[in-house]
Amino acid sequence: MKRQTITTKGPFRTFVLTKIAVVFALSCSSSCLLGQSLAEIDSIEKVIITQDNDTNKINNLVIVAKGYLYRDLNKVESLIDDILLLSQNLKFYPGIADYYYLKSILCKNDLNYDSSLIILNYALALIDSVNDYRRHANYYRLYAMTLHKQGFNITASAYYKRSLMLFEKLNDQEGITKTYNSIGIIYDDAMKYDTALHYYFKSLSLAEKVMDIQNQMPPCINIGKIFNNMKDYEKAIEYFNKCLDISTRQKNISFIGQSHNNLGMAFHGLNKFEEALKNYGIAIENFNSIDAIWDMASTIINMGSVYRELGDKTNALKKFQESLAIYKSHGIIHGMINAAMNIALYYEDIGNYTRTLQIYDSCLTLAKESNYLEIMPKLYYNIFKDYELTGNWSKAFHYQSLHTALKDSVYTLEKERMINDLELNYEKEKNEAQILLLQNDNLQKDIILKKRTIQRNIYIFIVLIIVISGLLSFGLFYTRYRKNKIIMEQKLRQLENEKKLLAAQSIVEGQEQERKRIAYDLHDGIGILLSSARLQFSSIIEKVPEHKELLDRANKLMEQAAMDIRKISHNMMPGILTKFGLLEAAESLFDQFEDNPDMSATVNITGNPVRLTENAEIMLYRIVQELLNNTIKHASARNIALNFHFREKLQIQYSDDGCGFNLDEKIGSGTFGLKSIQSRVNFLSGELTFESKTGKGFTCFIHVPIQNHIADGN
């Protein structure tokens, strides 16, 4: 059975041209895959309104944007802007990646495949470090589809396989379904129809298994197309009808159109031209309603080819020109070339080879301009055949060789692009290796950081120790300072005490000096006066004897006065003490008991007697004086003994055998002048001890260090 032909000449040419139409039809079907059910989109939209600005909202926005991709591009644009803004605010990188992903889809739909891939690479870069299977799978799928559109089928299939793996990991049945379909298309393009069918059936059966009605449509159409190509038109129609069923129920106009279009091609194959034209018409209507320009134009070409088959050249040309016009108005160069080539065939049919060649020439130019290199071999082939027909052998041969050369080079083109891809992959791997290196670096930096942290900790520890030891030593110094302070205070007190002692001493010394002065004044002043007066008196008595009695009495008074003065002076400061010293003075004190036969008072001197300083001797004399007074006043003693023993210390013992006293009583009351004795002994830095018991007499020991009190010139 013959395939659908567009031209009566040359099976290859017709085949090629049919293929072109089919490719366009195929490519349309895969891009319409992305439509989600309208109801779902609506419900999600309603949810979005109530949502807070979080990552879930972003995800929902992405879904909605995808849903509007084939319905309302403006809405998609605004949705994309929202997605980007929100993602940037939340610093939600997957959101930004999705933004790029959607932008990439838009580029692809605008046929800007290079830009699409570049933008999609941004998206992939953003999610590179995370294990985001869903996004990776979808992005890879888009990548594959774009590559597929560019004709890099082998690389595309690799990416499809990658995304399929991820969809299987995700257990994303829809993703798997769609990807099976896409892989099928690749094999379809490579004319490996068995494998293609295999994948299409896999896709279809999976979609049926999970009741995914939407995704049953594309594989149906694709299966149908293969059957079409294999000229199994009944089977093809069966599947096209199935798709028509689903698409009608789903109200998916695009697929309704496609179903009709393909049905038309099937009927065309069955030579049921009316049926074919009818279906084409319905298809065009549908396509027109959704502005599916490409699909519409290619369906019109199909109609044209039917007319051509029917011999209705006029209608055929009309249709071809209609399609060319549509393609031209939308700047779809490839479509224009395709339509132009069909028009050229028309002219060939009517034998206007010049016109044909003209058209082919402009096609060549257009093709080169638009870089539509895939069409070149076919173009060359048609031109070659034409020249053959016109008998222009040289040109024919020229173009044949061009065709042959390009036929190979197309292959090498693919190969070149494969190499580029490989290079990209290599670059990618290199980048990955660099990233690993960087990670390594980071690890090292981490280790260094840890080291530094430990070092820092050690430093802190050391500083702590220093601080603690500083505190400790401060504490030590402080306590030492306090101690020193206390010692200083003690010393100060000691000095004060010494000062007090000195002060007291000087007071006492002053007293004694005073006494000395008084004694002197009495003795040498008044005493002398009295003595002189008495002397005069004695003369007077001699000269005036008649008043002898009176004068005698007066003399006696003066004598008494003189004696009193002498006594007072003596008591103040005995002359013997100042003239002869302590020992003699003490002995003199004791002399007053000489006349008393009942009493015995002796002074004993042993050791190495030395003269002491006047003040010391006076003080000791006063002590002895006081002791003697006490004995005379209170003791009624018979014996009194005073002993001076001169060694390093002067040891004085004074004893009487009088009635004694109760030591505790007397010391408490502070009488007896014992206190004055004690203080005098203290002044001399000596020690004093008493011994006395009632009825047992009185003894006192005085030990005085005399090193400091030895008189000069001794």
Binding site: G575, A641, H645, Q651
Partner: protein, 211 residues
Amino acid sequence: MTKILVADDHQLLIDGIKSTLEDVEDIKIIAKANNGFEVIKILETKKADIILMDINMPYMDGLECTKIINQKFPDIKVIALTQYDEKRFVKRMIKNGASGYLLKDASKAELLKAIRDVNAGKKYFSPKLSVKFLEDHYQTPRTNPLFPHLSDREQQVLNLICKEFSSNEISKQLNISYNTVENHRASLMEKSDTKNSAGLVRWAVENELID
């Protein structure tokens, strides 16, 4: 004619004596001095028989001057004329070579008698001096039972210590406990202000306390 030198640092007294002796024919005051140095200086040029010497004089007192005169001018006689009535003074003056001792408030009669007696070679001591100094001078020292004030036991212990007995031996000899001996020893040391037995013994010897 008895030549008199009056030595006193009080001009008043010199005037008094002068006026008292004015009308005495055989006594003439040939010079006066205010201190010992002056006395000696005058005596180098002038001759005197008797010096009426006050004890309390500046630069050189009567005691010292008397001593020097006794050596240098043994013929010149010194009569103390002083306020001091203490026996020590008297003793000392006598020791230094004074021949007489008068108190400053002596009457004219007494003064004249003293001068004449001394001039004749006798000694005159004012009867007001309440001390029998002569006897005192030769008095033997009375043993004083009061010194030192040691208990009997203490005395016994001290004797034995000085005889080089140990505390143990002492305790055995006196039939008292070792501790008691030690207590006595401590008390002895305190009374004598000594630190150890050696000091105690020395003190005992010096004070003639041991038999």
